[in-house]
Amino acid sequence: MAAATAEKSTKERLLSVLDDLEVLSRELIEMLALSRNQKVPQPGEDTQILELLVQRDKEFQELMEVAQQQGKIHQEMQLLEKEVEKRDNDIQQLQKQLKEAEHILATAVYQAKEKLASIEKAKKGSVSSEEIIKYAHRISASNAVCAPLNWVPGDPRRPYPTDLEMRSGILGHMANLPSNGVNGHLPGDALAAGRLPDILTPHYPWQSSDVSAGMLPPHHGNDFNLEPPGHNKENEDDVEAMSTDSSSSSSDSD
């Protein structure tokens, strides 16, 4: 019902009134022409039509005034629409910037959380610095990371376990390998078998009085046993013996 009683637009009303004006003026002219031809006076019908014509004409003029006012308002509305469009663009721009800022902040927060989790994890698995230093000392004591200062070509020492050292270790004893003496290329191998007398032992520049009895190369087969730090005093003694020339200041074992 509301739709049915909706106001007609000004355009529709103007066109409707104009059609009425056209019909009424035509009726009036035809009536006057007919009455003149027939010379019969009409009983006031022409007056009625004339009155309607005047009324419609007045209505038409009023509607034209309204239409002109609406035209001016329409211009103002167009300006407002342009302003609304401009504001919409500004808001969209602002929205884009806020979205970008949110993305950056979300990334930063996520990375910060990851870092905090890493810190917590590291704290749980923390290792004493002394133990790390001892461990590093043991690794480096076997001269695997750096040659000894007094190493010269011909020195049988190697950064890896030599045949002699393997045979004198636990595996070598377990295998119970026949030791013929000269398996390696070094005369020192014969010493390990205990075959050569002392007088025939080769003397090397690196040998010092601190080397253990029997003039054997220092036995550090156990040094490669990566056991938990700080619990094997024997290994620590070996480490101490080997690291006399080390420049690192190792801490006391106990």
């Binding site: 637009s9 103007l14 066109l15 009036l28 022409a33 004409d57 034209m64 006012q69 035209g71 407002l80």
Partner: protein, 99 residues
């Protein structure tokens, strides 16, 4: 303002068809041969009025509806200006300058 009012009255009087109808009736009374000419003028005037109405902008709705649309547009502009001012006036974080 008085000039604009006078122009408006002239324009409204120009769109009246009564003078032309009066001229036609006068010619008919005088049995003047200009009756057909006056009739043609009336027809032309009516046709021009129809074309003028079709070309006029802003009359596709009633005055009441137009006022509502105008109020809506003004409200939109006001609201959006307010929104932009609000976000532009938000306190910004104090970012320490990198030394």
């Amino acid at each position: 303002m008085a000039v604009a009012q006078a122009n408006l009255e002239k324009e409204t009087e120009d769109c009246s068809l009564l003078p032309l109808v009066h001229d036609i009736i006068k010619c008919m009374d005088k049995d003047s041969p200009d009756v057909n000419q006056e009739l043609t003028k009336l027809k032309t005037k009516i046709q021009e009025a129809r074309e003028q109405i079709s070309n006029m902008s802003g009359i596709d709705c009633s005055p009441v509806e137009q006022q509502q649309q105008l109020a809506t547009l003004r409200e939109q502009v006001r609201t959006k200006n307010q929104l932009l001012q609000k976000y532009k006036g938000l306190c910004m974080f104090d970012v320490p300058k990198a030394s």
